[in-house]
Amino acid sequence: MQKKYKSDFPLLANRMDNDKPLAYLDNAATTQKPAVVIEAVKRHMEYNNANPHRGAYTLSADATGIYEDTRIKAARFIHAASENEIVFTKNTTEALNMVALCYGMEKVKQGDEILISIAEHHSNLLPWQRVAVKTGASLRYLYTNSDSEIPAEEIRTKINKHTKVVAITHTSNVLGYRIPVGQIVQAAHAVGAVVVVDGAQGVPHMPVDVQALDVDFMAFAGHKMYGPEGIGILYGKAALLDEMEPLLLGGGIVEQVTESSACLLPAPHKFEAGTPNVAAAAGLNAAMEYMQQIGFDKIRETEDQLTDYLLDQLRRLDEVEIYGSRHYGIAPFNVRDVHPHDVASILDGGGVAIRAGHHCAQPLMKHLGINACCRASIAFYNTKEDIDRLYDSLKDVRRWLGL
């Protein structure tokens, strides 16, 4: 059954330089693209390309149609109340920076507290560090315990009347641990703080309902959910987007401009100055359709089984140390006495692609007491054979280094 998905992805059929087939296990970094997505991008460029929202001719209307249809699909995908709560950005990083600069910088004052978790990707850390430094607010952290989970006690004590923003990841890009967003939202809203969620590792792998979760902002990216790079999404509650000023100003966002003033369009359009990446939107549109055809029930079932198998195989190797206790699609580990970069190179020699390094989460590395680690991350198109090949290559790592 699983083989069926893999054949939807042309790149996965390619052989590597050394003629080895590819076992792609770096899906938390970016996912591969199914043929329907590649075809949608091509079709847009061949038949529908024009500047959206501008030309008074059929082609421009077609481009606008694709772009706005993607917005509607994205709103439905995360159960937003309206497509007007969907702002297109270039990626998750831009979306998170937009919240920090356009909301955080305006609303956070000296003496306030911004709360993030120690497991944040740098893209949900650096923007808030800057807000804290520039406003005189303090940046506080929710720390993970020895099981690499954030205990309820930590949430209870760190969220207080000074907290103005809680910015947290939905699923840690290193640990694969799902943060209890619901609990955090409840505690944050009780003190009047807004909650910003980095959904980059969550939205591609499980149904996310922004209304049920009651999050105020959420960011995610097309390229981690089988779409192209160059398109990300910032979800924001309508009332919050309305009071925010755009990060960028320029074409396509105004009702009227005079020599000394400008009247901007309402959200989401006021946030999207300049010609947007319509081809990427067309690809993301096809990616969401593709995922919905398969269905999250099937995606989750497959990914949960693969995650269990991945961890079972890693645990069979005495020289492998796994970090964290509950993993969703992501397994961080190290091989005893071997630097992660050497592990990645040796695996690469066997056609197995994993990530090695600090994973843009240096404070988390320090918290875990390591310098860097390896990370294998799966998508539903992976197979047990991919994981078996990871296991086989890992077995040889120490021997290659003469250990």
Partner: protein, 153 residues
């Protein structure tokens, strides 16, 4: 990628050997080097005797390639003048940029020539070059100190 090219005997041996990994008793200079993308962090220590690098060592953490590279480099520059060490570093860095080098230059690199194949692995080039960039930085700082010393007198 051919792993035998990357993890050759010389590289493997130097990556395991710790004979250059320690502090010096009286270093003239200690210079940090790091690769931000992978988290490699070393400190290179040099002890000079006038224009000669009397001794060198390193501490820190890194992958097998960077450990081998720094260890081979230290063996090579120990006892050389600052100027000779600079020339060797420039030859090494040119080799990793896949520039054509004459036989004499390659011979001057001695064991460091074993790292030539790393140039074919873009993901690992920085692991090999980081120690040599650190050496150049150290030489530059030693020479700057030299300049002030002579000026004061």
């Amino acid at each position: 990628m051919n792993l035998n090219e990357l993890y050759s005997d010389i590289i493997r041996e130097h990556s395991i050997s710790a004979h250059n990994k320690h502090h010096l008793g009286t270093p003239s200079i200690v210079v940090p080097g790091n690769n931000p993308t992978c988290g490699d962090e070393i400190e290179l220590e040099l002890e000079r005797d006038n224009s000669i690098i009397k001794d060198a060592s390193f501490t820190g953490i890194g992958c097998a390639v960077s450990r081998a590279s720094v260890s081979i480099m230290i063996d090579l520059v120990r006892g050389k003048t600052l100027e000779e060490a600079r020339e060797l570093a420039l030859i090494f860095l040119a080799m990793l940029r896949r520039e054509e080098l004459d036989e004499e230059s390659m011979e001057r690199l001695e064991e460091a020539a074993a790292l030539q194949n790393v140039a074919n692995m873009p993901a690992r080039v920085k692991c090999a070059t980081m120690p040599w960039h650190t050496l150049l930085k150290a030489i530059e700082q030693l020479e700057a100190a030299n300049f002030h010393y002579y000026r004061r007198n």
